[in-house]
């Protein structure tokens, strides 16, 4: 679908080498607006909202900070590690705020699966419903996030 120049500019910011070396779109050829719409549909079919997913991501990240870079147990069946490096990144969506390079790794011991995301990703999901393009090494499949982080459907 055609997208406005506003979205075109954002898509350009997501290209490799503009903000991060790999960029945020991986090998996905779709327009940004189509990526957003598809993931939005997936999230809605699971009967949750982007906000709920982002809240869970934030929850693990905040608790994990106390570990100062080491794994720590959370809620009896999660292991969380939060480490960070210096520097901040701007968001390709524009707008204020620089996001710290904080990496959160959440291991769901019950499922035997793990997911890794950064502060920038929490912002992506919460504010834009963006999960990166398919083929990107940081691509977060909404279904995986919902399952691993155990995002509960809205009651």
């Amino acid at each position: 679908m055609k997208q406005t120049p506003g979205y075109d500019a954002i898509q350009r910011q997501m290209a490799p080498g503009v903000i991060t070396l790999e960029g945020f779109l991986g090998t996905d050829n779709r327009k940004l607006i189509d990526i957003l719409n598809a993931d939005d549909a997936t999230v809605r079919r699971a009967e949750v909202t982007h906000q709920q997913i982002a809240e869970r991501m934030q929850y693990f990240r905040d608790i994990g900070l106390d570990g100062l870079g080491e794994f720590m147990g959370v809620d009896d069946h999660f292991d969380v590690r939060v480490d960070s490096v210096r520097g901040k990144l701007p968001s390709p969506f524009g707008g204020p705020g620089m996001y710290e390079k904080v990496n959160t790794t959440v291991v769901n011991k019950r499922l035997g699966r793990e997911v890794v995301y950064t502060d920038l990703h929490i912002h992506f999901v919460r504010d834009h419903g963006f999960y990166e393009g398919k083929g990107s090494s940081y691509r977060l499949e909404p279904e995986d996030l919902i399952a691993i982080l155990e995002v509960a459907p809205a009651t």
């Binding site: 679908m1 055609k2 406005t4 120049p5 506003g6 075109d8 719409n37 549909a41 809605r44 079919r45």
Partner: protein, 197 residues
């Protein structure tokens, strides 16, 4: 109808009962694409209104003082498009200078006003219905306001739609067209209320 009332009748008809978009189905593409955001829709709607009002007036002058005397009425399609294109270019420059936010948000849709069939359509209707200068101006202004009304209504509805559950496959353009259809059906109820030929 009296001389004074006719332009007013045309004005109100163009907004409500003979809405250029919902009754004549002209100007759909930017209507569907831009109506996602309420503020951008308002901006585009106002720009379209301005272009419609002024180009209809200019086209009337060009038609009656340049084309008709030389019996070149058949050239009106080309000439009207040229006038509209030039005028939209002017508007683009002015918007870029005085409201960068709007310029950035509208982007490609601003020059696309040129090929918005509603603009050409209104000028052609004016010729077919043989409107006077005053009537033409009010017709153009009214059509623009009608288009603005339609796009604002659509934007408002689509904003509500964000939290609604849409059947897969109808998301995006699909549901928008269905809604446009419903709106057009509602406006069909107005048919024949005001005679503006």
């Amino acid at each position: 109808m009296s001389e004074f009332l006719f332009p007013l009748a045309v004005f109100f008809a163009a907004i409500f009962t003979n809405n250029i978009l919902l009754t004549n189905y002209l100007g759909m593409c930017s209507f569907l694409s831009v109506s996602k955001e309420l503020e951008t829709s308002a901006g585009l709607g106002i720009a379209v209104t301005f272009v419609l009002a002024v180009t209809t007036a200019i086209n009337w002058v060009v038609y009656h003082f340049l084309l008709v005397p030389f019996q070149l009425e058949y050239l009106r399609f080309i000439v009207f498009i040229i006038v509209i294109a030039a005028f939209v270019q002017l508007i683009e420059m002015v918007i870029e200078r005085y409201s960068e936010g709007l310029y950035f948000a509208l982007g490609i849709f601003l020059p696309l006003i040129t090929v918005n069939c509603a603009i050409l359509g209104v000028s052609l209707f004016m010729v077919i219905r043989e409107y006077s200068f005053i009537t033409s101006f009010f017709f153009g202004l009214g059509s623009g306001l009608g288009w603005l009304l339609a796009i604002l209504a659509m934007a408002g509805i689509r904003q509500r739609l964000r939290t609604a559950k849409i059947p897969p496959g109808l998301e995006g353009a699909g549901i928008a067209l269905v809604i446009a259809g419903f709106m057009a059906m509602a406006f069909m109820g107005f048919t024949g209320m005001i005679n503006i030929s």
